[in-house]
């Protein structure tokens, strides 16, 4: 019973975080800041949802597979984000910087 309530709380928090990340990827002004919004849904949102599902599934192969899915996401998402950002910077896409940003002479 307690586990049920806990898992629903985790699942709901994950879902809400996902929607917030979606709003972020919709609202943010340029590509680089959108990557950060996508980062939310890749890390904490996935963690909370998979943890909640794992509590529902109980010990066994199912929860092992859920943990494995999370570890795959943990390893692949930063690599994909880094590759995207690196490719975008090399292709000459300039980030929009804030007012208090130190100007960096890049290339």
């Amino acid at each position: 019973m307690i586990i049920d309530i806990l898992s629903w709380i985790l699942l709901m928090a994950g879902g809400i975080l996902g929607i917030i990340g979606g709003i972020g990827i919709y609202r943010f002004p340029d590509f680089y800041s959108r990557l950060h919004a996508a980062g939310i849904t890749d890390t904490l949102c996935a963690l909370l949802i998979l943890l909640g599902l794992g509590l529902q599934a109980g010990w066994g192969i199912a929860s092992f597979k859920l943990a494995l899915i999370f570890i795959f996401l943990l390893f692949t998402c930063p690599t994909a984000s880094h590759a995207l950002a690196n490719a975008a910077l090399h292709s000459g896409l300039k980030p929009k910087l804030g007012k208090d940003a130190a100007r960096l002479n890049h290339d």
Binding site: L17, I20, G21, I23, G24, R27, F28, P29, D30, Y32, S33, L35, H36, A37, G39, I40, T43, L44, L47, I61, F64, K65, L68, L74, F75, C77, P78, T79, S81, H82, A85, N86, L89, P95, K96, L97, G98, K99, D100, A101, A102, L104, H106
Partner: protein
């Protein structure tokens, strides 16, 4: 010796993914483990870098730190998206010094930077990492190098 423990780990992995103990399926598992180990030996990738078994005892300690950082950074970015307490974004592109000595340490550091939302590592070089940060605070915190120190302390120190 290393390839033997690699094969044992892979077979354990096969069993925990399939959950069946029929002879045919176990045989197929053994065959694919043998093929994988053979290919990995041919590609020469079973070494300290791609199979860091000697570091596995350090990972729990590191993961605690990683998840704490992820949660803190997530709260910051959520505040930015929703505009709580007047939080607003001010994207920064900065170069921070890269203090890790080994390639593995550099990769772990860059991946940790990217994993915590609000900062993305864009480019690696020998001495510096170019990062894009969502707020000035996040960029300043990374520039102090505390995350690099934590990684050195938690993973590479005896």
């Amino acid at each position: 010796m290393k390839s033997f423990s690699f094969a044992a780990l892979l077979f354990l992995f096969w069993i925990s993914l399939s959950g069946y103990f029929e002879p045919l399926l176990l045989g197929l598992g053994l065959a694919s483990v043998a093929l994988t180990v053979f290919l990995s030996k041919r590609m020469n990738v079973i070494d300290c870098e791609s199979y860091p078994l000697h570091l596995s005892s350090k990972f729990p300690n590191f993961f605690v730190y990683l998840f704490r950082e992820i949660i803190k950074a997530n709260i910051d970015v959520v505040a930015c998206i929703l505009g709580w307490r007047g939080a607003s974004i001010s994207p920064q592109l900065v170069k921070i010094p890269q203090l890790q000595k080994t390639d593995l340490g550099t990769v772990i550091y860059a991946n940790t930077i990217t994993l915590t939302p609000g900062t993305v590592s864009i480019e690696l070089s020998e001495k510096t990492i170019t990062i894009h940060a969502l707020t000035k605070e996040a960029a300043d915190e990374l520039a102090t190098g505390s995350m690099s120190n934590e990684i050195s302390k938690r993973i590479f120190e005896k």
